[in-house]
């Protein structure tokens, strides 16, 4: 049954002010003309609304579930000045899902030709209408089947290129398929969307980029350009005593594995307070863990999780401990976690990301009895495999790219979580995929002209 926030979609669309130069349409990194699709919805044109969404974002339906609209398209919504921003994310989900229900597939794939592509960079709309190339005029390799890789591949295929996509695991979708709990995105919806989106592409599974599949190998196979979109997967884990104990887990293990669910754990501490930490905390509660503590070493001002996700975790019953830092884990005689020892922290100097550093204060500590500790402190890049291919990575672990997403290596582009901007949103990955596809198209067109 349709949830209430979608059932009210037409009322919500009618509330839209239809501003001049609508701020929402400048707030979507993937370039969806938001005000236009809301106008179409308000006039009852669901197909048109879905077309407006999906012509610029093939992941429009998925973003309708999980996009942090509150900080993107809804951020500067004029209706906010009349009390409340338009619930754009729900309208997007409604339009795309209604379109599916009416028997229509993803409009990105079914519309007769690739639309003029809009990309929004820092509030500026960039439009590009790439011309199609002769069939089989080039082969492009894409590393990673997340939203960035799939989007890039879909555009290049529609332009006439051959695309081969390499995926490290046996499941496509990248972070979407590894770590988004089902209360946030229905897994059946995700599977069916990914199936639709993957259908025009040649995908090699269980093939990781790096030593055994390097740039040389790809070139040898005839690839003229490469798009690196393999994401960040190495979980950050602090080096403290006790990490070897049973019951010490990572966010990915909680979000992608099942076996912990049967362990009968009643209390747990989640270290970190980003979005992944919120997802972990809620997943633990959902599986019957009664006491879920979130440990964060800074103050609410520095929190990186979105207000909405934090609010949902709070409402679900997660207990937040701020200004504290795990310094050791204590185990019982069986080698299982028994408690976490936390130090109190105090604000220090600003760090390189502009946030204040927080260091432990001597003499203030407390012990929290828990049966499980989950590290949800974000991800790092697998720099070694990239650097082994000559790709330059900066000190924060992000691949260096210019505004066309070109890396230091000729013909190699990178996007998505690898390049570190957009804080891991699907919509930013889609935007990168679009930018990369258009850049690769330009690059290959240039190469072809020079070859003639």
């Amino acid at each position: 049954m349709m949830p209430p926030h979608l059932r009210g979609a037409y009322w919500e669309a009618a509330r839209c002010l239809q501003c001049c130069d609508p701020p929402c349409s400048l707030g979507c990194p993937a370039g969806i003309d938001v005000a236009r699709f809301i106008r179409q919805l308000n006039k009852g044109d669901v197909t048109g609304a879905a077309d407006t969404i999906e012509r610029d974002n093939p992941f429009g339906l998925i973003c309708g579930w999980i996009c942090p609209s509150e900080v993107l398209c809804q951020k500067d919504c004029t209706a906010r000045k009349l009390g409340r921003a338009i619930d754009i994310r729900s309208l997007q989900r409604f339009a795309t899902e209604e379109n599916r229900r009416a028997g229509s597939s993803n409009r990105f794939l079914t519309r007769p030709q690739l639309a003029e592509q809009r990309i929004v960079v820092e509030g500026q709309v960039k439009r590009e209408a790439p011309t199609h190339v002769a069939a089989s005029s080039g082969l492009v390799a894409i590393i990673g089947s997340g939203p960035a890789g799939l989007t890039c591949g879909l555009i290049l295929v529609r332009l006439g290129y051959r695309v081969e996509l390499w995926e490290k695991t046996d499941t496509i979708g990248g972070r979407l398929s590894h770590g988004i709990p089902s209360f946030r995105l229905d897994s059946a919806v995700l599977r069916s969307e990914l199936e639709i989106l993957a259908s025009p592409l040649t995908i090699h599974r269980n093939r990781a980029f790096g030593m055994e599949l390097g740039l040389v190998d790809l070139r040898r196979q005839g690839c003229q350009a490469v798009f690196l979109a393999s994401g960040k997967w190495r979980e950050n884990i602090p080096e403290i005593p006790g990490n070897q104990l049973a019951g010490v887990m990572t966010a990915d293990q909680i979000l992608t594995q099942e076996d912990w669910k049967s362990a009968g754990i009643k209390s747990a501490a989640v270290v970190g307070a980003g979005n992944a930490a919120m997802d972990v905390a809620r997943s633990l509660l959902a599986e019957g863990v009664e006491m879920v503590h979130v440990l964060y070493r800074r103050t609410p001002k520095e929190l990186t999780s979105w207000d909405e996700e934090r609010e949902e975790a709070w409402q679900a019953g997660v207990i937040f401990h701020l200004l504290c830092l795990p310094v050791a884990l204590e185990g019982d005689s069986a080698g299982r976690v028994r408690s976490v020892i936390c130090a109190r922290t105090a604000p220090g100097l600003l760090d390189s990301s502009g946030r204040r550093a927080f260091r432990a204060v001597e003499g203030y500590s407390f012990e929290l009895p828990v049966e499980m500790v989950v590290y949800a402190l974000g991800y790092g890049t697998d720099c070694a495999s990239l650097e082994s291919q000559g790709i330059r990575v900066d000190e924060e672990g992000f691949v260096r790219v210019n505004e066309d997403l070109a890396t230091n290596v000729d013909g190699v582009f990178a996007g998505g979580d690898l390049i570190g901007k957009g804080r891991g949103t699907v919509v930013q990955a889609v935007a990168d995929g679009k930018r990369a596809a258009l850049s690769i198209h330009q690059y290959l067109s240039r190469e072809r002209r020079q070859g003639e």
């Binding site: 501003c19 001049c20 308000n42 006039k43 009349l82």
Partner: protein
């Protein structure tokens, strides 16, 4: 000041307020009308009784369609009003009259007009009038304006009477002869000369006029099935339009009738009353009573509370002691033509920066629909160019914030900017 007196004499009856149920589905049975009376409606004009209702027949299903506004009308698909086709009473004339008689006997203080509908046939009209008088009705309303094209060749035999002043006069005369009861004549806006029809009714001996009946309309088309609404086995037909969409037309018709100096009949307004403000407007234009249907169909008889309290509050605020004082009170302010209006008044839009939310709708409207007098800056502020502003008023209509745009005289504006 004492509480305003909402009572108003109408057709020789002291109505407790000017609000009546119109002849329609909301006044179909005694039981329904009784509930309305208890909530405070002053009276009712019953659903039209016709001899044809004795014929074995089913009403059409469905027979209503909602009229949405702006595109889909998917939110509140009735905002514009409703259309209906072929609504009839599904019980015999005798039973219906007995029902009304019982109602009247239990509510002697409520005004009950029985509406009658018949073809152009003296016997039928006089027979029905006799039945209505026997039932104890306080008045008879003649439905001479049925908009339903239910007859041969797409026109209603009843409705066609109301097109012809001579026929109207004749029917009124027949009924006048058959009964001593006051006679109301319900008029249609679909006539070349409405006042001629009104004058004909007056000559026939009518007491009052009810204006207007529903308007002929097409209810729209379902684009999924390519069938018109309301869809009956894939087909539909023209229907009668009522509700908010017809209010300006009803007010125009009322103005025509009230403005005719040789017409002295009492006027009862009908057409698109949704709230107290609408009803008060009709009274100010010259109506003595106001009849309501569509808004009751949408929100129930409880509407009377808003109408009654709204009218009382308005009268207190504007120091009207009786409804009688209201009737036609703004008539001197309606010129017969826009040519008679002064061109001395020249206004300029002023946008209150504190209230403006920066949506830019006024800018779009002025740019593409008016005088390109509003600037919209990148920081989402707006500015009116006093040289270009013609004071047309379009911007204020598009503004989502009440009173963010107001108008001042051009001279006043000039002084202010000095």
């Amino acid at each position: 000041m004492s509480r305003p007196d909402l009572r108003v004499p109408f057709c020789g009856f002291q109505c407790e307020n000017p609000f009546l149920l119109a002849a329609s589905p909301v006044s179909r049975f005694g039981e329904m009308i009784e509930r309305a009376f208890r909530l405070g409606w002053a009276g009712a004009v019953t659903k039209s009784v016709s001899l044809a209702q004795d014929l074995p027949d089913h009403s059409l299903s469905p027979r209503f369609a909602g009229i949405g506004l702006g595109g889909s009308g998917l939110t509140a698909p009735y905002k514009g009003g409703l259309t209906n086709i072929d609504f009839r009473i599904d019980q015999s004339v005798d039973k219906t009259m007995a029902d009304y008689a019982l109602l009247k006997s239990r509510y002697p203080d409520k005004f009950l007009a029985i509406s009658l509908k018949a073809e152009f046939d003296q016997k039928q009209w006089q027979h029905l009038a006799g039945l209505a008088a026997a039932a104890g009705a306080d008045a008879i309303e003649l439905c001479l304006s049925c908009p339903d094209p239910c007859g041969e060749g797409g026109s209603c035999a009843v409705g066609s009477i109301g097109q012809n002043p001579q026929a109207v006069k004749e029917v009124v005369t027949w009924v006048r002869v058959a009964t001593h009861l006051p006679v109301l004549v319900k008029l249609s806006a679909h006539v070349a000369n409405l006042t001629a029809i009104g004058l004909a009714a007056q000559e026939g001996g009518a007491t009052a006029l009810t204006a207007i009946n529903t308007l002929k309309s097409i209810s729209g088309i379902n684009l999924a099935t390519l069938s018109p609404f309301p869809t009956i086995e894939g087909m539909s037909a023209a229907a009668g339009l009522s509700g908010a969409a017809i209010k300006p037309i009803a007010q125009f018709c009322l103005d025509e009738l009230a403005g005719e100096s040789s017409l002295h009949l009492q006027l009862s307004a009908a057409g698109g009353v949704t709230c107290a403000q609408d009803a008060i407007e009709f009274l100010l234009l010259g109506a003595r009573t106001v009849q309501v249907t569509t808004q009751i169909m949408l929100e129930g008889y409880g509407l009377i509370e808003d109408l009654r309290d709204g009218l009382a509050a308005f009268m207190e605020e504007h120091r009207f002691r009786t409804v009688e004082e209201l009737i036609g009170a703004i008539r001197p302010k309606l010129a017969r033509s826009s040519k008679e209006l002064s061109r001395r008044q020249q206004l300029i839009a002023q946008i209150e920066a504190d209230l403006c939310i920066g949506c830019g709708r006024c800018y779009l409207a002025c740019r593409d629909g008016a005088y390109q007098a509003i600037e919209f800056h990148p920081d989402r502020t707006v500015r009116v160019d006093p040289e270009k502003c013609a004071g047309c008023g379009l911007c204020k209509i598009t503004c989502p914030v009440p009173s963010a745009i107001r108008f001042t005289g051009k001279e006043e504006h000039g002084e202010a900017s000095v």
